[in-house]
């Protein structure tokens, strides 16, 4: 470094020293703050028993203009691999299933929960938004979201308006989001509650109409209203209500149900042109209305802070869920913190959830054996450690997730009583984050 002679700097420093008696021993350290906030993370999610593994890379950028206008973008790339339960129940014999395209098949060994191994996907999601102040006390946000997988395209727009009252001690907000999703299942969407067909040897067919239901779509509208209220210097409470309406194709095009003998629990034989045993494609209603109430309380201690929230969701499918979640931020020292996290979740089953269908019963209008619609409890235990450096903030989050349903429900007749129909699911989440400013 070249030493520069400052024309007046030395004399000014001497004059200041005489004025104040002394000069501070520390030099001036000031720099213009960057305009870009960049938040990146790499997440690993792994389910036990070799089920789903997700590696997700996320980058969010936020550019602030003046004080309260801001542009943000977020890009996520997920890579999912592994196998997921296809909805069928275990049996004492080998079970053979047809892959979605119709050109391949997979099996489940006797006593094994059938898993569809063809589950492999890369998802790319992009979202963005603009925040604009309106007058002194209001802000308006507009945003979009889009994501793409090989069989799924999501397009969404959203908007949110916030207004501060009561010397900014109260903020009320309303939001509206609209999404249109196109689903192009491999082999076409199956027709609900029709049998899974047998594998066929048909190389020149791309399989698009193998299952006859073609492409599908759904629309989702969410409306949100909420308020945050400061209660004194240390407490903040937030209450919100969301109304969501989904219309269109809400069925999972890859999930089936086993049809079993109502006494022995043994799978019944498949039809001509079908799989060796009979499986029916699941079928869900084409509309779903969800209502969600949320309340969160945040408290600041002298050094640490605590957040406690509860969420109640109910929908017209008969699924009611409750979530209780808490985070405690322990500021270990000036540069690092540890944030333990606990979450507990419970839900009731959808009205049309069935473990199996019984041979001879009249077919229901709707049926699904998707475990995500079953009655289950789940909890998450984890912690995040963060450390601020001169180059940005690093963080590491490790969490353990466990989900438990009733492994042997009332429908577990005959042979089925000997199997774990809804085995517990455990998963680990490890996330590495790096946040910096440019």
């Amino acid at each position: 470094m070249q030493l520069k002679k400052k024309p007046i700097g030395g004399k000014l420093a001497a004059a200041t020293c005489s004025l104040l008696g002394a000069l501070p021993s520390t030099p001036v350290v000031a720099q213009e703050a960057g305009d870009w906030d960049i938040d990146t993370s790499l997440l690993y999610y792994g389910e036990s028993d070799g089920r789903v593994t997700d590696v997700s890379l996320d980058a969010s950028v936020r550019r602030a203009f003046d004080e309260d206008r801001a542009l943000n973008f977020s890009l996520t790339v997920d890579s999912l691999t592994g196998a997921t339960p296809n909805g069928a129940v275990p049996a004492n014999t080998l079970q053979t299933f047809t892959g979605a395209s119709g050109n391949n098949s997979y099996t489940a060994q006797p006593g094994e929960l059938p898993l569809d191994p063809t589950f492999l996907d890369t998802r790319v999601a992009l979202s963005g938004g603009w925040q604009q102040p309106i007058g002194e006390n209001s802000r308006w946000n507009v945003g979009f979201s889009t994501s793409h997988e090989y069989d799924y395209l999501h397009l969404g727009v959203n908007t949110r308006y916030e207004h501060d009252f009561n010397l900014k001690n109260t903020t009320a907000y309303v939001g509206l989001a609209f999404a249109q999703d196109d689903i192009e299942p491999v082999g076409g969407a199956p027709i609900g509650l029709t049998p899974m067909l047998a594998e066929r040897d048909d190389d020149d067919d791309d399989g698009d109409d193998f299952r006859g239901g073609g492409d599908q779509s759904k629309d989702v509208i969410d409306a949100l209203i909420g308020v945050t209220q400061l209660l004194g210097r240390r407490d903040l409470i937030e209450v919100s209500y969301t109304y969501g309406q989904s219309d269109g194709y809400l069925t999972d095009p890859y999930k089936i149900l086993s049809v079993v003998d109502p006494v022995t629990g043994v799978p019944v034989a498949g039809p001509v042109g079908g799989t060796p045993y009979l499986y029916l494609w699941e079928h869900r209603p084409d509309s779903r209305t969800k209502q969600t109430g949320f309340v969160e309380w945040r408290h600041a201690f002298d050094r640490d802070s605590l957040a406690l929230s509860a969420r109640y969701m109910t929908d017209d499918w008969g699924v009611d869920s409750q979530t209780v979640e808490t985070r405690y931020r322990w500021n270990i020292n000036e540069r690092s913190y540890l944030e333990p996290h606990l979450r507990w979740y419970t839900q009731s089953a959808a009205d049309f959830y069935r473990t199996v269908l019984f041979d001879g019963d009249q077919l229901p209008e709707y049926a699904s054996a998707d475990q995500r619609l079953a009655d289950f409890d789940a909890y998450t235990v984890g912690a995040k450690y963060g450390r601020r450096t001169d180059y940005g903030e690093f963080s590491l989050r490790v969490e353990y997730y466990r989900q438990e349903g009733d492994p042997s429900p009332g429908s577990a007749v005959g042979d089925l009583a000997g199997f774990e129909l809804l085995p517990p699911l455990t998963a680990y989440i490890v996330q590495f984050g790096y946040k910096f400013r440019l």
Binding site: L12, S18, V28, E32, D66
Partner: protein
Amino acid sequence: MGSPCEVLCETADPRLAKRLGNFARGEARRVDLKYSRYQPGSVVNAMQASHGKRYHVDDETARMLDFGAALWRLSNKAFDLTSGVLRYAWSFDQGKVRSDISRIPELLKRIGWDRVGWQPADIILPEGMEIDFGGIGKEYAVDRVADWAASQTKCPVLINFGGDLRCVGAPPASGAWQVGIESIENFGKATKRIELKSGALATSGDARRHIEIDGKRYGHIFDARTGWPVANAPRSITVAAPTCSQAGSYSTLAMLKGEGAEAFLDAEDARYWCLR
């Protein structure tokens, strides 16, 4: 001080916060009462009332006068403690400028540090001349409070008197104090954010006060040699320096350079932000 003054301190000890606040308020009042021409008992009024006779000043006032004299020399006489009388020719009133430029030649005769007899700690202020510490008093008060705070606590403290500020330590969570520079288009909104970890920031120029004569833009800082505001000066200059007195001096002297403000600060190797 004629502007909002605040002290920010990150501490869990309310007594410390109160002590800092009390000291800062006391010091701001004391400096204001002692050096404001609007305060009847102030030292500047007493000097003026001496009617050209030798007047003995206290040690603190002597140091302030010495500092002003140094700036007068360093600015090539553009900065002058006696230039306050120019307010009789120029006044800024609720965003409007009233000027009576016919008075400037007469007023210039009442300006000039070289006309003042200054032999520390005795001053002879000729009849009709005035001393105005307006350009240095606020920064001096900030430095006084900062030095005191540094002697009292290790907690991070920021002293901000009307936008001239100095910090002692920085808040650990973000590593720096976040200081906004007011936009020249959007009053009350920050256009740039400065992260201040140590030292002081002072800003010269007030976007709300400027003069336009024959299409030429003038700021509100006067060149004591001409009696006119400086032409083509930046609308706002923020300078970072170890003390608020240095930062304030740099921003004022740079403003007096007009067109050459940036070149002056570059030559000083100063860290600064100019808005034009």
